[in-house]
């Protein structure tokens, strides 16, 4: 893969990870986490790990985000940190 | 032939990118949630369509017509199926987001006129 892309995505990954952990709204955090998963899936696809990317796309960006949101919905959205 | 096809595909992809740019600028510049969703929802749809069509056209050029394999054509069809998919889901997503924003109580920016939805809700006494 093109290493410049690689680096850009990696930087974005760090940014999304930090955002999803810093945002106070849990729903937003879950969404940003979904973005993170999608980015990392992109990265893996670029690295040639298509199966892993596919799995991460379905699981990380799909199921994980959905069940996180389901839990947030059933509990509460705001958090102290 | 293949040069022409390549040019077409490049044009399509470039157009898609331009529209992407437009929607991104729109998202940045527009004043409120709803107007931004206009930019995001529409620009997204068309530009993705154009880019994918560009791919499809490019791939069409790659088919060896002498040594034809169905599988190659199927790639084009798959790309078109993705287009259909985007046409189906993209407006739905835009709508869902706007609706959710509305339900969440984000006030639309209004210069004049009343809000039709407010009126309706007022009538129903919700």
């Amino acid at each position: 893969m093109i290493w410049q892309f690689d680096i850009i995505i990696l930087i974005f990954l760090v940014i999304t990870a930090v955002i999803s952990l810093r945002v106070k709204d849990l729903l937003a955090a879950s969404m940003v986490f979904g973005t993170y998963s999608f980015l990392i899936c992109l990265l893996w696809a670029g690295m040639g790990a298509v199966d892993v990317a596919f799995t991460e796309a379905t699981v990380g960006a799909g199921i994980s985000a959905v069940i996180l949101i389901a839990t947030v919905y059933n509990t509460r959205r705001d958090s102290s940190d | 032939m293949s040069v022409l096809i390549n040019i077409i595909s490049i044009v399509l992809i470039l157009a898609g990118l331009v529209f992407f740019l437009g929607s991104v600028v729109g998202v940045v510049r527009f004043p409120d949630f709803y107007t931004r969703m206009h930019a995001a929802g529409k620009g997204d749809t068309l530009s993705s369509l154009l880019v994918i069509m560009g791919f499809a056209v490019y791939h069409l050029g790659q088919i060896h017509w002498m040594d034809f394999a169905w599988a190659d054509l199927l790639v084009v069809l798959k790309l078109l199926a993705i287009c259909a998919f985007i046409m189906l889901t993209s407006p739905t997503a835009t709508h869902a987001l706007m609706n959710a924003g509305y339900e969440d109580g984000i006030e639309p920016l209004m210069r004049k006129k009343g809000n039709a939805l407010d009126n309706e809700e007022g009538e129903k006494g919700r």
């Binding site: 298509v50 199966d51 799995t55 379905t58 799909g62 | -």
Partner: protein, 257 residues
Amino acid sequence: MKWVGLIAVLFTGGLLLSAMDDFPNWGDAHSPANASPVSQYFIEKTIEDSGVPNMVTAVLADYRSYDTMFETVVVLIAGIAIMAILRVGNQIPRGARPAPVSAPASVNDDHQDIIIGTTCRLLIPVLQLFAFYVIAHGHHSPGGGFQGGVVLGTSFILAAIAKGLDPALERLPETRYVKIAFVGVVIYSAFGVACLLLGENFLDYGVLSVLLPTIDAAEARSHSMLGVEVGVAFTVSAIMFAIYANLASKGELEGGL
């Protein structure tokens, strides 16, 4: 706490980075991991052994199928665990509930959002077909039992999101998805046990060719891989839906998001 955490994390990070000098370069084809006889073997001999072009599938479902079996078991455990922790209310697992007297499983309920409802309605069959495609073509393209299973499960989740949990549960009631989940693992391990009974080691699919005289050992491997992937897909799809259904309804399996 924060400071302790920070120090621990920095320490760990330093530890992890301290070995960086010793790492092979990124993308080095001759690093120990990439040039090891094991991965060379996978790349060179997969076709020979089973005729499956997708090496990941071959390694997943054949060479390291023992791992994958337990991976499936992990998924099963996750579902069972969530039911065990969260499930409340009716008898567990709930039996087929009596059909509602009023409208049957309707997808046209007007109180639901028409746009989203219709989109999902159109998407679900396509999604399911795509899931089956992914399962069936794991040998040739990315995908396989796990990804396909997740997509299949997602289609039910989509139904539950768009239409509410109850209609989705009428399509896939609790008794059924629990059963499917278990049956998936049964299918997987049955392949292994069949090999065992035919006198070879567990999951040594090559020996299954004696069951179908027209195929040779490589094909037997290929087909058995598909078989176990189907088992994986069973479990995964059922459990993904189970996880969502329980988490979305606080274990009551009613209402939902």
